[in-house]
């Protein structure tokens, strides 16, 4: 418990840094928010009026002070692109991104870890080659390409997949919000129809994102398994006559998990923010595309809110992973 608190306290300076840097970066960027939002026939006066309304005519330190004061009260500002408070936008959109990312990560893990282990155990076999092909494909195919290809084949040509209209079909209604994850919420509400519908909507984006996440996980699983398999204690275990299955799963795999966990943490936080292209292709209302749209329009508040949320998530995630380390490997427990 103390460890958790200490770690959280230790993250505060980092967060302060993130706040300052994103503030400065968004102001340094070229682009004029006011003239962008002034509309087609804006006169110089109406641009100035908007600038004043947004407080952009004030000196930078004052703007920063206002921003931090608002932040302390829990206000992340207003988004100009959606016209809503950034906090509301992020809370509405984060579950969509989290659901997509988690599902993709689970799918990737389900394939990549066994594949990695198999490739390491049977080096040079068909499994090893398959692993190599999958990894290369996952890394080299750009996400938007895989996404469009999947849409083309499974929706456009074959018609197996539902229309890529976002999280749910236009005529379906969302389950009552509990967690914001449609799969979970629809199960909680006992609504199997919505569950199936949202699962069907998720299939293609999850596959696209999963393919992308597959590569690093499979690579690391294979590499770290190889290292562990050649370690002395595995040889001892084998020499002691333990069954290969027992040696691999109990001795080797558990020890090989540490680097895999680290990678998983990185892949997760990376996917969460970086699945912009998947969100675009599948009209998925997530945070990534939200932040990018805002950035293109020089809409500062959402960008700052997004970066801050990501920073907080990253801190929490790292903490969770460190705690998991302790569970997987007692040696990694932080008691010093």
């Amino acid at each position: 418990m103390r460890t958790v608190l200490l770690r959280l306290l230790g993250a505060l300076p980092a967060l302060a840094g993130v706040i300052l840097v994103t503030f400065l970066l968004t102001r340094v960027l070229p682009g004029d928010t006011a003239s962008y939002f002034a509309g087609p026939t804006a006169s110089a006066e109406s641009i100035a009026q908007i600038r004043a309304e947004l407080g952009l005519d004030r000196p930078l330190p004052e703007q920063f002070f206002r921003y931090v004061t608002a932040l302390a009260q829990g206000h992340l500002g207003m988004s100009l692109t959606t016209g809503q408070p950034v906090l509301a936008d992020l809370t509405a959109r984060l579950p969509a991104s989290v659901e997509l990312t988690l599902a993709a990560l689970l799918l990737a893990m389900g394939i990549a870890i066994p594949l990695g282990i198999l490739a390491a155990v049977k080096q040079g076999s068909w499994a090893d080659h398959l692993c190599r092909i999958v990894v290369t494909a996952g890394v080299s195919l750009p996400v938007f390409f895989t996404g469009l290809l999947l849409v083309y084949v499974f929706y456009f040509i074959l018609g197996w997949s539902p229309a890529p209209l976002g999280r749910l079909d236009a005529f379906a209604s969302a389950p009552p919000t509990v967690t914001g994850l449609y799969l979970v919420d629809s199960l909680l509400a006992g609504d199997m129809e919505t569950f199936r519908a949202s699962l069907a909507q998720m299939a293609l984006p999850v596959a696209t994102l999963g393919l992308f996440a597959l590569a690093p996980i499979a690579r690391i699983s294979r590499g770290s398994m190889l290292a562990v398999l050649s370690a002395d204690f595995v040889r001892t275990a084998r020499a002691s006559g333990l069954s290969p299955r027992y040696v691999i799963l109990t001795y080797a795999f558990r020890n090989a998990m540490l680097p895999v966990l680290t990678t998983l943490g990185m892949v997760f936080s990376f996917l969460l923010g970086a699945n912009v292209l998947v969100e675009k292709v599948f009209a998925w209302p997530g945070v990534g595309s939200y932040a990018v749209e805002a950035l293109i329009a020089s809409d500062f508040a959402p960008v700052q809110g997004f970066v801050l949320t990501m920073a907080i998530l990253y801190v929490l995630l790292n903490l969770a992973i460190d705690l998991l380390y302790g569970l997987v490997d007692p040696r990694a427990r932080m008691d010093a």
């Binding site: 003239s35 026939t41 804006a42 006169s43 908007i50 016209g83 890529p164 005529f171 329009a297």
Partner: protein, 530 residues
């Protein structure tokens, strides 16, 4: 309102007899339209500052104006467009311009707001007062029709409303039919305004209108759902009972959705996709030449090499018009080159230039024998069209001694860049809502140097002609002035027109009643699904 009304209905739910719910059957799929677009509204109040293009659609469908544009059938029979001076009453049952031509009196229909309250002249006054005082785009647009001060608007009695004119301006009445001067339920708005006399924050998130549709749900960036207002009396009751608009950012996905038949209407595809869809013939594409709109290359007449009119003409002679039409617009435009006769009062109209490299080279030899190096800027947001255009222009100008460096400017910076007025060349698309040549010229070539006068073109003679045409009541004088300033623009070429864009919309073959409006947003009221 979403939360409040949700709460209210949740509280009321146990008391509503089940029977009532069963009687009003849910709209069937045949009465429901699914429209996919790149992005949806960022506000529900088109008068508000910072409202994006799709908010015009909320204004059209959820609010009423005094007047609206009368549908003018399109040549192919695929729907209707408008003519700027053909108006009909919306909230106004009838209207009359005074014999001195300095005021107009409107008799209001017996219409009801969504709240159930009757529309009265004082609501109209409050709404128009708001439009001229709120600032930003709304106030600028009102001023374009000489609607500038709250004192101009008079609620004579409950159902009689008068507008006093500042000057005789042919644009005043048409400007009442655009998406800015729509009528709010002023009592409801003021009650919820929370101290703000114009209830800006509340109206941004709530509709308080009398229009044919209400907003049932609005999730910015995801979807907007409209339901029909069954009590609408300001026009023929729409046949659609429910319209779902979904924001689908990827154009490829929007195209797949319309081709597979899952979406009824798809807005805003790249021209190549529209061309392909037309050729494939599975869906209907309605293309309307956007009135008063042009793709142009503006040449800076105030600074840089193009202050010399010979160099501007040289560029006009070197422009690869046909290639641009094919490779950038994929034929989805109206040619604006190769005119042979004199200037007319039509606008836009072709300029008397062709691709004639020899002539262009000769002009460059005269003006700048050593050649010129310059830059061309374009908006990254319009890059699907503007980028190939820019590349073709660069290629075409190289052989005549003009070296062009291309600069792609991100959307947010482009306006700022135009405002600086330093770019020697810029690709831009301008469209004026009020379809008059003098209106186009006022924004683009007048000495008041608006942001759209990208060339910073200053010519007192031109100003005199534009101002004269703008306010004259004499048709002969109007014709003379317009022809004079158009031929002046042809000679002086502060901007070279490339093409008049087509506004294309893809829809299933069973969709009818398409209505094109100056704001280019879909009008759900006339759409039908057979």
């Amino acid at each position: 309102m979403h939360r409040r009304s949700l709460l209210a209905s949740a509280l009321a739910a146990p008391f509503v007899p089940k029977l009532a719910a069963a009687q009003t059957a849910a709209p069937s799929r045949r009465e429901t339209l699914l429209l996919v677009q790149e992005y949806g509204p960022n506000s529900l109040d088109m008068q508000g500052i910072g409202s994006a293009q799709p908010v015009n659609g909320v204004s059209v469908n959820c609010y009423d104006r005094l007047l609206r544009f009368k549908p003018v059938p399109l040549p192919g029979g695929d729907g209707s467009t408008f003519k700027i001076d053909q108006l009909e009453g919306e909230l106004a049952e009838s209207w009359q311009v005074a014999s001195d031509g300095m005021s107009a009196t409107f008799r209001l229909r017996e219409a009801k707001f969504h709240s159930g309250r009757a529309v009265s002249a004082k609501d109209v006054k409050w709404s128009l007062d708001r439009a001229v005082s709120i600032g930003g785009f709304a106030t600028t647009q009102m001023a374009a029709g000489s609607l500038e001060k709250a004192e101009q608007f008079v609620a004579v009695d409950d159902r009689t409303f008068r507008i006093d004119f500042l000057r005789r301006d042919k644009m005043t009445l048409p400007n009442l039919a655009v998406t800015i001067p729509f009528v709010f339920d002023s009592e409801l708005a003021q009650r919820n305004g929370g101290g703000d006399p114009w209830a800006k924050e509340w109206l941004k998130n709530n509709v308080a209108g009398s229009g044919a549709f209400r907003v049932e749900s609005w999730k910015p960036g995801v979807e907007t759902i409209y339901v029909r207002n069954d009590d609408w009396t300001s026009g023929t009751l729409p046949t659609l009972r429910r319209v779902i608009t979904r924001d689908i950012p990827s154009p490829s996905t929007r195209r797949a959705l319309i081709e597979r038949g899952d979406a009824d209407i798809s807005y805003g595809l790249p021209p190549k996709d529209f061309k392909d869809l037309i050729e494939a013939g599975k869906v209907k594409v309605v293309g309307v030449p956007v009135p008063n709109a042009l793709w142009t290359v503006a040449l800076n007449a105030a600074t840089g090499p193009f202050t010399d009119v010979r160099l501007r003409q040289a560029v006009a002679w070197a422009m690869p018009y046909e290639k641009i039409m094919q490779a950038s617009l994929f034929g989805r435009g109206v040619p604006m080159w190769g005119a042979t006769g004199e200037a007319t009062t039509a606008w836009p109209q072709p300029y008397p230039y062709n691709t004639d490299i020899a002539r262009a080279r000769a002009l460059v030899q005269q003006a700048a024998p050593g050649g010129v190096t310059t830059t061309l800027i374009f908006d990254a947001g319009a890059a699907t069209i503007a980028e190939p255009m820019a590349v073709l222009i660069k290629e075409a100008l190289a052989p005549i001694g003009i070296t062009v460096e291309l600069q792609k400017i991100p959307g947010a910076n482009f306006r700022g860049e135009l405002n600086k007025k330093t770019a020697p060349m810029a690709i831009n698309r301008f469209g004026g809502w009020l379809d008059y040549p003098d209106y186009y010229f006022f924004w683009n070539y007048h000495g008041n140097n608006s942001i759209f006068n990208i060339s910073s073109y200053q010519n007192p003679e031109m100003d005199k002609l534009i101002d004269a045409a703008r306010f004259t009541a004499d048709p002969a004088e109007y014709k003379r002035d317009v022809e004079a300033f158009v031929s002046m623009a042809m000679r002086e070429v502060p901007a070279i027109p490339l093409a008049q864009p087509l506004h294309d919309v893809a829809m299933q073959k069973n969709i009818g009643g398409y209505q094109f409006l100056p704001s280019r947003e879909p009008d759900f009221r006339s759409l039908t699904k057979g």
